[in-house]
Symmetry: C2
Subunit: 190 residues, 2 copies
């Protein structure tokens, strides 16, 4: 994984991929799938993500004030379904059950999922206090970001130059995804 | 356009498309491109969208408490770039200049862009008061939704069964988009 300059980090989420949201606190870590995530600002980069208060990940985010976002690829569709399909509250060994391998982020200790095509480490923003209760909405500043340079280089995605297995996932409903598709070439003269 | 049941309306944004955000107040209407939009809740459906306070659309949203989201398709890539590239504050005739044809939504009067593949009419939620100032984040309840049944039927998208021109757009940066791609078929036995 190659570091992404902070002023380009918003681009990791700009096209709307499903993410794996993670957090760690007091020796516990969890990761869950989250389709509702988006950039919130350019520089410093900020993100918004919906994390249900009935999840272990949310408990860890609330306790630590920290979270990670990993962008999974097509090769991780089954993993993404798996970590989205069961709760760490029901299964303390969820990550092992799902085969989710991760490393702790250097800034936050939050889990960065192996084989993902991008990572972000984030710190929860104060305004979250107003929207986490009524809307399960977490607002966070991105502290550091990385991407797989086979698909993200010179500040932007280049899915068309890499194996399809590295394309981002876009959740439709019920565990079905679309992969990101082809570039839309501007018309001549525009 | 066919009505979408409210409990399925979140699916119109679930895969992360770029949208056209619109609003109307006191006889003025505007539409702008917004890549930062996502679902916020299932039923009643809610959405979150970032709308910069330096835009005419934001002035109209703040004044009316109402907005519309139209989901543009590949055939509208130039239109999406155009309405994202200039401000209604600088060009009062922006919509005509850009060739943006629309009709007023029946619930809000906000502009629903013709030839888009989905529409939502929305009402701003109270919690917006806490996040619109610091983060330009608008939270809204979806009052009504419609979609083009060539690509959205039985409560979900079916891009693979329609012409590519009807695929959703996913903004990367600088007016470049990816189209949504192919379905990710679950592995056998899972």
């Amino acid at each position: 994984m190659t570091p992404v300059p902070l002023d380009k980090a918003y681009r990791l989420l700009n096209h709307g991929p499903t993410v794996l949201a993670g957090s760690s606190h007091a020796g516990r870590s969890n990761v869950m799938a989250a389709a509702w995530a988006m950039p919130l600002d350019f520089d410093p980069p900020k993100v918004a993500v919906v994390i249900d208060k009935a999840t272990l990940t949310r408990q860890l985010v609330d306790a630590s004030g920290l979270l990670s976002l990993s962008v999974p690829c097509l090769a991780q569709a089954e993993l993404t379904r798996a970590v989205g399909g069961e709760s760490g509250l029901d299964h303390p060994d969820k990550l092992a059950r799902c085969g989710a391998l991760f490393e702790p982020g250097p800034h936050t200790g939050c889990p960065l999922v192996q084989e993902a095509i991008a990572w972000m480490e984030c710190r929860v923003l104060p305004a979250t206090a107003h929207v986490a209760g009524p809307h399960d909405l977490i607002l966070a500043e991105v502290l550091a970001a990385w991407a797989d340079e086979r698909v993200f280089s010179q500040g932007r995605w280049h899915f068309e130059n890499a194996p399809d297995a590295l394309r981002s996932l876009h959740h439709v409903a019920g565990g079905f995804f679309y992969a990101v598709g082809e570039p839309v070439v501007p018309e001549r003269g525009h």
